[in-house]
Structure formats: structure tokens, C-alpha cells
């Protein structure tokens, strides 16, 4: 199950004004609290955070919302997190703060194509693209597609699973938004 959370809607509720810009740490922290509240009431496996109503996301808010949400996943009931509706400058902010923490998140860019933002090893990044292209894949599929030894593909898929960037089902790994 996927829980879609419209960040622009939460921002307007939090700030009680028609802001479209996610700036300042207190605002980011308040929005993150709202997201965590929504997720705590949901049985979803995947949270889809929709930024399409947001004009600007500064580094402070990227840190407070995305990085801290992912860091908190370790202590709370873990979910898969996917971002949608980001603009290029918002990619920059999220990429920087996640790289700083050695975290990564899946994002859907224009046209619905998935990409990774943040830090993962190059093999994991290549495996992520491969799994998304194939629709689902085991280590053997990835090894064959990328001409890798199976152990290398297996390690890359393991890293993606650990970062909660693919959904595991037995030996198979699925892109996060594939049912």
C-alpha cells in the first residue's frame, strides 16, 4: 500500500499561510513532524512524498524533512520512501544533504522515471537502474544484464535492500512503486 503525502498541503497547514517555499529549519522540522504523524496512522509500506506544489526547498528544509525522516526510519517502523514532483534545484538540495549523511532515496523524475538521490556505491546505482528497467530482478538477472559476476550483483542488490531502495520478495527485488 502507498500513502501519498502532499508536502505543499502540509506546509500550508503547518505555516497557516499560503507559502509555497520550504525554507528554514523550524518549518522543515514542523513539516517532518506532520509527515511522521501521518505515517504513524497509516499501514502503508511505502510513503510517496509529493513535492509538486513546492517552489523552493532550501538545504535546511531538505535536511530537516528528507534526511531526518530517513534517519528516523531506523528507529521507527521502517517504510519505503519515494519522492515525486521535485525540480532540479530541489534535487541539488536533497542530493547534498543525503550525501553528507551517506543516505539515499528513490525519486520519480518527470515522466515517472525513477532515479536515486544521495549516496550509494556506483554498483548499487547501476543495479537500481537495472531493477527499474527490468521491473523485477534477482541477482542472476542483474548479473546477466550488466555482465557482472553474480556475487557482484548480489552485493549491489543487498546494498539497495539495506538502504530500502528496492522492495525484496524472496530472491526478487522490485522497484518501490511496482505492485
Amino acid at each position: 500500500m502507498i500513502e501519498t503525502i502532499r508536502i505543499g498541503h502540509l506546509l500550508r497547514e503547518t505555516a497557516l499561510s499560503p507559502y509555497r517555499n520550504l525554507v528554514t529549519r523550524p518549518t522543515g522540522a514542523a513539516v517532518r513532524t506532520r509527515i511522521e504523524d501521518a505515517l504513524s496512522r497509516s499501514d502503508c509500506l511505502t510513503a510517496l512524498l509529493d513535492f509538486s506544489d513546492i517552489e523552493l526547498l532550501d538545504f535546511s528544509c531538505a535536511e530537516e524533512i528528507v534526511a531526518k525522516l530517513l534517519l528516523a526510519q531506523a528507529s521507527h517502523r521502517p517504510r519505503f520512501v519515494v519522492l515525486r514532483g521535485l525540480r532540479d534545484d530541489q534535487h541539488d538540495a536533497i542530493e547534498q544533504v543525503l550525501t553528507h549523511h551517506r543516505l539515499a532515496v528513490a525519486a520519480l523524475i518527470a515522466g515517472g522515471e525513477p532515479m536515486l538521490l544521495g549516496w550509494v556505491l556506483p554498483d548499487a546505482r547501476a543495479a537500481f537502474t537495472c531493477v527499474c528497467r527490468l521491473g523485477r530482478a534477482c541477482a542472476g538477472d542483474v548479473a546477466e544484464a550488466l555482465s557482472w559476476p553474480e556475487s557482484r550483483a548480489s552485493e549491489a542488490l543487498e546494498a539497495l535492500t539495506l538502504h530500502r531502495l528496492v522492495r525484496p520478495e524472496g530472491d526478487l527485488r522490485y522497484p518501490l512503486l511496482v505492485a
Binding site: 517555499n21 525554507v23 523552493l56 532550501d58 534545484d89 538540495a93 553528507h100
Partner: protein, 300 residues
């Protein structure tokens, strides 16, 4: 005795040192007169630098300084239109006729002189600038289409530093002008200034011991801008300047931070500034200038 501080005729980040030297010791014991009669032009850095001086004197419970307004009608009109006199009247005893501010500011002003007192002000600043920045940054300076967002991110982070670290309020102004002497091109300039504790005092308790005898205004600026440290122990802190540096690098821009008696800059090829200027005249708080030049035709 009244100490007279002359406002440089061409008042920018360079001639700011002449202005700062005029104050002597802080807090000044004499009555001060800031003499702007000969002023011909002031950058946003110069304008908010004067307000910062007035604010620092007020916060030190000093005697309200005098301020003589520029003789030039053009200069007076411009300073009125960007909101300088409105704020200066609260900090100085103004002498000379001040024109009424026009309803709308000049077109090369992205953001009037604006106080930053709380996080809410940062929201307002970003909201105000977002409507016009795209037209100027992309249309006039030739930056990429997404530049307005990145520019606003830099502005937001620079303003938040005041609220989070200065311990008092500050000022911001953003303007576009032609940078004839050093570059010969149009530039967009963000200037942010406060009269607060400065970088050295803000970082002292958490980082001074690491620097030992080297600790001072210059080392504190280096720690913040180059190493990305923060006084907060939260490991996610200190990323604002890192992000700003990324944009500066991408656009061949310049960032310069002055605090106490030092100024640290990331200097692009078009500028001849020194990376670190130390032993400057003391000036309260911190002053940040971010300069983004129009992109050269071949890079557009």
C-alpha cells in the same frame, strides 16, 4: 567631541574598510556623526553596513549617532526608494532633507533593504524575491532557468545564519548592477549583515580548542566557510554555506564573509581580492556578500 565617520563616495565591500576604520574602538565613547554628504553610490553591502553600525551603537546603549544625508538628489532618491532612510531614521538622527520613497522600488532592486529578525522574515524575503528573480537572473544575467531557485536557496541560508547565530537581528538587500571596475558585466549581489556576536564568538565554545593559538576571526571564518562546521552538535548542520559554495562555483561567483577583524573570500578568476584579509579594523557582527556575475556569452 564628535567623531566624524566619512561614508566613502563609492561605498562597496572594498571601501567598507575605510568606513569601519572610522569608528576606532567599539563601542565608541564619543558621539558619532556618519557623514554621507559626499556619497555618490552605495552597494547593498554599503547600505546595510551603515544600518548595522547604527544598530550596534543602539544595542551598546550608545548615544544616538547623527547622519548627514547625501547632497546628490539622485543618490538620496535612490536610497529612499530602496528603503534605506526608513530604517536609518530609527537608528540615526538624520540631518538633511530626505525625499519620500516611491511606491515601487527601482527595477534593478531585487529586494529592498529588509530587516531580518526572525525565521518568519526569511519566509517573507524568499516570497518577495521569487517573483522577480527568474526574470532578472535568467533573462538579464543569462543564468540557467533553474537559477532563481538556487539563488533563493542561497539567500535563505544566508538570512537564516542571522537568526540562528547572530544573537540579534540583521539586514538583507539584493540588487543588480554593473560591476564596471572589476568585471565589466552585470552582477546580482546578495548582501546580509548583522551586528551580533560574530563567527569567532559563535563557534568559540565548540571549535576554538582545535585551532589553539591560531583561533581568531580568520580561523573562525575558515572553520565555517571552508570546513563547514557549526556551533550545533547536530551532524547535519553547516550545510548552508556548503550549498552556497556549490552555486558560487557553478556560476563563477564570489562569496565574501567579514566578521570582527577578518574577511574570508572564495575568489573567482575575475576578481583580485585576497582569500583571507586579517587584522582589519574591527566591525561588529558578520557581513556576507554573494556576487553572481552575468554569464559570458559563450557559456550561455
Amino acid at each position: 567631541m564628535t567623531r566624524v565617520i566619512e561614508v566613502p563616495a563609492h561605498f562597496d565591500d572594498r571601501s567598507f574598510e575605510q568606513f569601519a576604520a572610522g569608528f576606532g574602538a567599539w563601542p565608541a565613547e564619543e558621539k558619532l556623526l556618519v557623514d554621507a554628504r559626499a556619497a555618490q553610490w552605495a552597494s547593498p553591502y554599503g547600505l546595510i553596513g551603515m544600518l548595522t553600525a547604527g544598530q550596534a551603537i543602539a544595542e551598546a546603549k550608545g548615544e544616538r549617532p547623527l547622519f548627514t544625508v547625501p547632497i546628490s538628489d539622485d543618490v538620496k532618491r535612490y536610497w529612499a526608494r530602496v528603503g534605506f532612510f526608513r530604517h536609518a531614521a530609527e537608528l540615526f538622527e538624520l540631518h538633511g532633507r530626505v525625499p519620500k520613497a516611491a511606491a515601487t522600488g527601482p527595477s534593478d532592486v531585487l529586494l529592498d533593504v529588509t530587516p531580518v529578525r526572525a525565521m518568519e522574515d526569511v519566509h517573507q524575503v524568499v516570497e518577495k524575491i521569487s517573483d522577480v528573480s527568474s526574470r532578472i537572473l535568467h533573462g538579464e544575467l543569462g543564468l540557467e532557468r533553474g537559477a532563481a531557485g538556487r539563488f533563493s536557496m542561497a539567500l535563505s541560508e544566508a538570512c537564516q545564519n542571522i537568526v540562528e547565530h547572530a544573537g540579534t537581528s540583521g539586514w538583507v538587500a539584493v540588487q543588480v548592477y554593473t560591476f564596471r571596475r572589476r568585471l565589466g558585466r552585470r552582477v546580482a549581489v546578495i548582501a546580509v549583515s548583522d551586528s551580533g556576536v560574530g563567527f569567532r564568538r559563535s563557534l568559540e565554545s565548540t571549535h576554538a580548542s582545535r585551532f589553539g593559538e591560531r583561533w581568531g576571526d580568520g580561523a573562525a571564518l575558515e572553520a565555517a566557510l571552508i570546513q563547514g562546521v557549526s556551533r550545533f552538535r547536530d551532524p547535519g548542520r553547516g550545510q548552508g554555506f556548503k550549498g552556497i559554495k556549490g552555486f558560487i562555483d557553478r556560476w563563477k561567483g564570489k562569496i565574501s564573509i567579514r566578521s570582527g577583524s577578518a574577511r574570508l573570500s572564495i575568489v573567482p578568476a575575475w576578481d583580485d581580492d585576497v582569500p583571507l584579509a586579517d587584522h582589519l579594523p574591527f566591525f561588529p557582527g558578520a557581513q556576507v556578500q554573494i556576487t553572481i556575475p552575468a554569464q559570458e556569452a559563450e557559456s550561455r
